[in-house]
Amino acid sequence: MNKLLVSPAPHWYGKETTQGIMRDVIIALVPAVLVSLYLAGVSALLVLMVSVAGCVLVEHLIVRYMMKKKTTVHDLSAVVTGLILALNLPVSSPWWMVLIGCVVAIGVAKMTFGGLGHNLFNPALVARVFLLISFPVQMTNWAVANGIFTPENPLIPGFLLGLQGQLPDALTGATPLGIVKEGLANGVSIKALAAQHNFSYSGMFFGHMSGSLGEASALALLLGFIYLLVRKVIRPIVPLSIVITVALFSGLLHLADPIQYADPLFHLLSGGLLLGAIFMATDYVTSPMSPLGMIIFGVGIGIITMLIRVWGAYPEGVSFAILFMNALVPLINKIKPFPYQKEVKRG
């Protein structure tokens, strides 16, 4: 006779799995990946592939041979980390830099804390910031998207060599944020800069902005955002509060002095703001759990981002802002939710 199965209630379960959630995030990243492939071709593909493969491999090796447990790569979280890391890198990243990024992301930022669910900081972001500080030249070599192969070595993708120094000047360009920062430092007004460098909002929206792989097109990121919302993977609270904070902050500055400060739309569309707000600030593990906490988290990211962009030394501050707020998450999570109903009496 087959023995009866016994367990406490409930006796059936929802269909959602950790793996399924990660799969949804990967699907949401597809538009951004496609845009980067369209713009940068094989170079982008190689960065993406090395990054994903590197992250999965590092996780597998660490779990299997250092922690001596069953491998956990099938939960797909390493793939997500790899994708997000790749989208945060310039097209011209050399392969060794991507691999170092993978080791830092998975090895340092994730597995040392105990693996999935235990890390304090977003692994991809830790890697990005690590690389940005360690290899500032490579990390800010913004190739304007079109060179699949380098002119000197037509058969070898520039990726294998590391594009730095080999691209003709026409093919590299600074990001809009970088241009603005530098221009303002030299006393050029925003309007003049915009006219001089010919950046248009539609270009930034549809994907002609120079920057890292994933920053190119706001539209692609928004498509992913809508997918995540429809599948109920994330709640819109964090991205919205970031965007609203940035818009308000930059709007006030712009109103006060339109010559010195760029308008809100520029800040929203430029740099990694949308990529960060949609895919990195919403990372379950490193973001708060209650709606109120999410608002605090989002507003904090927005403010810090703007502080760095406007008054900091770096042109872009989203990564730093998210990492900083990540550190505060355990504290934010201490905020108790409103009780169901206040107690009348205790009995």
Partner: protein, 448 residues
């Protein structure tokens, strides 16, 4: 727009496969087992002994206090034993065993099918009958009904809510009852309403996935000025007392407070039917309706059973057993109740009791738990919790045995609805530990 409760909740597939099966009478079992703990509160005290002959409806056990209920014989025959028997969970309970002989009823019971509509009885008499006939809440908790109808000083009832939401997936017994016996349910409800007071309003809450029941009850309530039917959005756990009050009246029951503190009393439709039978027909609570169901479409029944019928007999009648009397091999779990809050059956020889509402047969694929993964802090449990608790946190505190903090985070508010475990993508046994910690804390509190 239909109403629903304001916090949390989940939307499981309602899986009401047996909704078109009319209620059938189960054959009278050869032997019934009447446990003494069929209600919440003190176990009843047997008043019969081995060898006594009893008729259907005869009292065989007395209540052991106010929060308790009598038990009546559900078949006629001889008492063969009064002893400890394992219940469906294998726990030993004092049980009266009656060997069936014929089907001889007490003369005082009106066995005709005719609906006795006019209410001739005074409320005090209704209350006495409810107490004597062993009526308990048939929504699941089996709380003695007369206790709920007893006025509490300073808390005047304003609303009597009839719970027809049947939010548990799979179960259809309340639904069938409303379609087939709507009139009787409303008479029973009206009787209870008069006990509470003439100025009390009656509301019947029914989820939208039961359009026929809404239609039927609306038609009947047209003749009752004090009653109205309110359709509710489909959402689990709408049938929880606190959630139903929130959905219908937008009032929230505080921690440790009784629902009556919001002016509302919730009764199940099945209870209302039992009250009708007890008061108008003189029939004690000796039968009830249950659903035998599962995702296997060949086993779908709604039965009227005699209290104390062995589970084995019911499964056999429903065709869930093979030739040798064993459970069909693709079923691995039998649940007494619904999939969210029901309890797994260990012992098929054990009986169904007054408040049994369904026997759910589950396959391994549906019910076997996956190995729990790591918490990814997705907060889905928090979003799903209808009491706005933080299940992930309570789970951690429970594992660490940090009782004071559990109390601080209102573990006592937990209604054990199972939403957290249902929704957890890593399948962490959140509720297992929370329930355990809560029960242990309650025990400690009672000691003090």
């Amino acid at each position: 727009m239909s109403k629903t409760f304001s916090i949390g909740g989940i939307h499981p597939n309602d899986s009401k496969f047996s909704k078109d099966q009319a209620i059938e009478d189960l054959p009278i079992p050869k032997r019934v087992f009447l446990p003494m703990n069929q209600h919440l509160g003190m176990p009843s005290v047997p008043v019969v002994k081995k060898g006594d002959r009893v008729k259907v409806g005869q009292k065989v056990a007395d209540p052991a206090g106010f929060v308790s209920a009598p038990v009546h014989a559900s078949v006629s025959g001889t008492v063969t034993e009064v002893a400890l028997y394992p219940d469906f969970q294998g726990k030993r309970v004092t049980t009266i065993v009656i060997e069936t002989e014929g089907d001889e009823w007490l003369e005082s019971i009106d066995r005709t099918q005719q609906v006795k509509q006019e209410i001739t009885i005074v409320p005090e008499e209704t209350f006495r009958k409810i107490t004597e006939m062993g009526i308990v809440g048939l929504g699941g908790a089996a709380f003695p009904t007369h206790v709920k109808l007893t006025p509490i000083e300073g808390m005047a009832p304003e609303y009597l809510i009839l719970n027809g939401s049947e939010c548990e997936p799979f179960l259809t017994s309340d639904y069938r009852l409303m379609i087939e016996h709507g009139q009787e349910i409303l008479i029973g409800a009206e009787l209870m309403r008069r006990v509470l007071g003439t100025n009390v309003n009656g509301i019947i809450g029914i989820e939208e996935n039961k359009p026929l029941a809404i239609q039927a009850m609306k038609k009947i309530t047209a003749n009752y000025l004090q009653w109205k039917v309110v359709p509710l959005k489909k959402r689990y756990p709408q049938g929880g007392e606190k959630q139903l009050i929130d959905a219908l009246l937008q009032r929230k029951v505080a921690s440790f407070a009784l629902p009556i503190s919001t002016g509302a009393i919730v009764q199940n439709v099945g209870t209302a039917f039992a009250v009708y039978e007890a008061v108008q027909k003189g029939k004690p609570l000796i039968s009830n309706v249950l659903t035998v169901t599962g995702s296997d479409l060949s086993v779908q029944e709604n039965y009227r059973f005699r209290v104390g019928t062995p589970i084995q007999d019911i499964l056999e009648a429903a065709g869930a057993l093979d030739k040798d009397g064993k459970l069909l091999s693709h079923f691995v779990k039998v649940v007494n109740g619904g999939p969210m809050m029901g309890k797994a059956v260990v012992n098929l020889q054990a009986p169904v009791v007054k408040s049994s509402s369904g026997l759910l047969l589950l396959t391994e694929k549906e019910t076997k738990r996956r190995e729990p993964g790591e918490c990814i802090r997705c907060a889905k449990c928090f979003q799903a919790c209808p009491m706005r608790l933080q299940p992930y946190l309570l789970y951690q505190l429970a594992l660490a045995g940090r009782t004071e903090e559990l109390d601080e985070h209102r573990v006592f508010d937990c209604i054990e609805c199972g939403c957290c475990l249902y929704t957890c993508p890593a399948r962490i046994p959140l509720l297992d530990q929370i329930r355990l910690a809560k029960n242990a804390l309650l025990k400690n509190k009672r000691k003090k």
